[in-house]
Point group: C2
Chain length 211, copies 2
C-alpha cells in the first residue's frame, strides 16, 4: 500500500454501482478502499475484484472463527484480489495465524480495539494483550479506535513497527488530524465521504484539515 | 425451529451444488442447516434463500462489528430468509442488541465460547460474563463448545431458559451423546456429515448414538 495522504475510504454501502462510482471519483486521493460484509453480501464477492482495479482493497471481514474457517475466508478474499484483510485478534493466536498464513503475502490487520461503546465492556480491558498476541502472530498492523486518540498513542508507543489504521473518523466523531498526531498511519473514513453529495470535495476537505 | 433429533448440519462447503445435494439428502433428519461465510462468499447470499426451501437456515456470520454494520448484515440475512443468525457476544451489548432488533422476529444466537485452542486465551476467561450480557440483550440462545461438555453443563445450570447449540461434534472431537447429556439442546455437525461418502448414513449413525 503506497502512501499518499494516508486516507482509506470505507465503502459500507449495499449498492455496487454507488460503491464503484465513489471509488472512481476519489481514486487519486485515497490509498485504499475498505469493504465489508454490507457491500460483499449484497453485491457478491466479485465486487472486491472489480474495486481492486481502481484502488487496493482491504476486506474488512473481521474474521472471527475457528482456524479452519478463517483460512477458507482469507483464501476467498485473496482469490478475489484483496490486498489486505482484517481479522479479530480476540479469537486468539491460532485463528490469527490461520489468516496470516492463508492470506500471505497480503497484509493482515488485526482488530485490537473498536470504536463503539460496547467495545469498552470486553475488548478494551484486554486490548493490549490482544495487540501483543496479534504482533506475535505476524500481522502487518492493527485496527485502533480513531475516536480515542490517547489509545492510538499507546499502541504507537508500544508497537513502533506496526501499521496503525484508525476507523471512526467523521460520522463516528473521530478527528483526522488528532488521529495522525497521535500516531495513526492511516485513517479510515466512511459515511462522511460516501454519504456526502460531493465525495471528492469531502476528501479534499479532510486532506486540507491534516496538512 | 421444530425439534426432531436435535441435529443441525453445518455446511461449511464452498460448492453450492454439493451443499444443496447434502441438504436434500438429509432434510428429514435434521432440524436446521447452518451456513457460514465459506459457502455464502463463494455462492452468493442467495444460497441462504435456496437452502431455506429445504430446511430452516441459521446464518453463522459470527457478526462482530459496530452496531450500525451489525444491523445491515442481520437485515441482509433476514431478507434472504434466514431463520436464525449468530452474533459474537464479545463485541458488547449495543452490538448484540443491534442484531436482535434488526433480525426480529428471527432467532439470534450469541457465541459465548468457542471450540478451538485459541478460544482459551481471551474468550473463555470471560465467557460467563459474555453469556450474561448476551442474555440481557435478548438473544434466544448461546453457541457453546461441544468439545467441552463440562462447560455446556455450566451454561445449562446458569441459564435454564436459553437454547444451547453445541458445535465441534465429530471432526473436532466432541461427542453427540455427551453434549446432550450435559444440557445441549442441539448439536451442530459439519465435516463428519458433508465429507462422508454417505451423509445420510452418517446422520443415522449419530441418531443411533444418541438414542
Amino acid at each position: 500500500m503506497e502512501k499518499r495522504y494516508g486516507i482509506i475510504v470505507a465503502l459500507d454501502l449495499t449498492s455496487r454501482e454507488k460503491a464503484m462510482m465513489v471509488a472512481l471519483e476519489i481514486q487519486d486521493l485515497v490509498d485504499a478502499i475498505k469493504v465489508g460484509y454490507p457491500l460483499v453480501l449484497s453485491s457478491g464477492i466479485s465486487v472486491v475484484r472489480d474495486l481492486s482495479k481502481i484502488s487496493p482493497v482491504i476486506c474488512d471481514f473481521k474474521i472471527a472463527d475457528i482456524p479452519n474457517t478463517n483460512s477458507i475466508i482469507a483464501r476467498l478474499a485473496k482469490e478475489n484480489r484483496a490486498s489486505g484483510i482484517i481479522v479479530h485478534g480476540f479469537t486468539g493466536e491460532d485463528s490469527i495465524r490461520a489468516v496470516v498464513e492463508a492470506f500471505s503475502p497480503g497484509d493482515v490487520f488485526s482488530v485490537v480495539e473498536m470504536t463503539h461503546p460496547g467495545a469498552l465492556e470486553f475488548i478494551q480491558p484486554i486490548s493490549m494483550e490482544i495487540a501483543r498476541k496479534s504482533y506475535n502472530s505476524g500481522v502487518r498492523g492493527f485496527i485502533v479506535p480513531g475516536t480515542r486518540p490517547e489509545r492510538i498513542a499507546l499502541y504507537r508507543k508500544n508497537f513502533p513497527g506496526m501499521l496503525l489504521l484508525a476507523p471512526g473518523i467523521g460520522a463516528q466523531g473521530g478527528e483526522a488530524k488528532r488521529a495522525f498526531e497521535n500516531g495513526a498511519d492511516y485513517i479510515i473514513v466512511g459515511r462522511s465521504i460516501y454519504e456526502s453529495e460531493n465525495p471528492r470535495r469531502e476528501v479534499e476537505n479532510i486532506i486540507d484539515s491534516i496538512q
